[in-house]
Symmetry: C2
Subunit: 205 residues, 2 copies
DNA sequence: ACCTGAACACCGTTCAAGT
DNA sequence: ACCTGAACACCGTTCAAGT
């Protein structure tokens, strides 16, 4: 018995199967997580044979890469939004908070985007572009704060370092390596994380 | 044909299968990565039936958890070593560097330790303890720098934040989200990452 | 151009049975 | 106490064939 009611089609041809596969894949990702997502199950849920998938995607890796790419586009969007709405003094906190919120609200997608399921062997150009564009927003943010050229080495390493910080927090929380009380205020948490590091570094040479 | 020559035993009984399974699992982890590790293959390589594994481990999750726990113990060890060998002015850099090096030298183990393969459903007490002990070293490091009680809230959030930073860097590099030149000096990289954040935060309110 | 069915080589896990 | 064999319900992927 299938875990989900198959919806049998009347027509042999589906029409626009490709986008439907991505939509269903996303749904399944949210339900079962990045490790248990399955091509056969996705196909079955759409009432289509498993092999139909292979007409539209080279393999599972490519489908997942395409899916992850949409995640990076969404992330880029929310970061750009935060950047646009922030003032000079709050810019780092606002962008970091937007990043953190995206991760917390889309944990399975975030795991897919940064996890081991997507091998770099099959890295789609589309995925690499989407990733790079999201990182660009972080670079713009940092360039603005530092008041330096976006292509400078200084901006690059600082953006990388700042990205690491917020990505690390998101990652540790999502994987439950650290557990915080349910009631915690996300804004306070990000603010505290930034301030505590500021203080720590002020003590260093 | 098996991908690895099975070594048939003469005796029915193996003796100490449990540790051997963990050793072989580690070997396989390093060869094929955390997503492709397989109980059947591990058993076959030891010349033992796949079901023998289930006498020693409840399931795959438990085996992987036990394996990950050894990773956290090793990490704890190298962190402690760095902490012991560092001076007051270099302590943060030294511990961060030790952490970063562990991740770079054991990428598949690191992926397993922080990835999606281990569900929190089957989180072994052993794994939780090992994790917590590694984190304790980071806390001790921070407590020393801040010159505060190790159990204070301030130490906790700062250690968490600092851990996020270095874990984020390791994670982004291992997953090839960012690619650095082969020739890069790890010590310089960590130093630059710390310094760039110090400067960034100095510009914030 | 787009999809199916059968087949292959894998999985993790169970259960009764063997030593 | 420790291990095996057969069986079940899954996978991803290929290939020839159908519409």
């Amino acid at each position: 018995m299938p875990r989900n009611a198959a919806k049998p089609r009347e027509t042999y041809h589906v029409g626009n199967l490709e986008p439907q596969l991505l939509i269903q894949a996303k749904r399944m990702l949210e339900e079962v997580g990045p490790t248990k997502i399955s091509i056969r199950a996705i196909a079955e849920q759409l009432g289509v044979s498993a092999t139909a998938v292979y007409y539209h995607f080279a393999n599972k890796d490519e489908l997942l890469s395409r899916l992850a790419a949409t995640g990076f586009s969404e992330l880029e969007f929310v970061l750009n939004q935060a950047l646009a709405e922030s003032t000079a003094t709050t810019i780092l906190k606002e962008v970091s908070l937007a990043y953190f919120r995206f991760a917390k609200r889309n944990p399975t997608m975030y795991q897919l985007m940064f996890g081991s399921e997507i091998t770099q062997a099959t890295l789609t150009p589309e995925l690499e572009r989407a990733r790079e564009q999201a990182f660009q927003v972080l670079k713009r943010t940092i360039a603005q704060i530092l008041d330096q050229e976006i292509h400078s080495k200084m901006v690059r390493i600082t953006a990388l370092s700042s990205w690491s910080h917020i990505h690390g927090m998101a990652s540790l929380l999502i994987h439950q390596v650290i557990v915080l009380p349910e009631t915690i205020d996300e804004e306070q948490l990000v603010e505290n994380a930034l301030q505590s590091l500021k203080h720590l570094f002020s003590l260093m040479p």
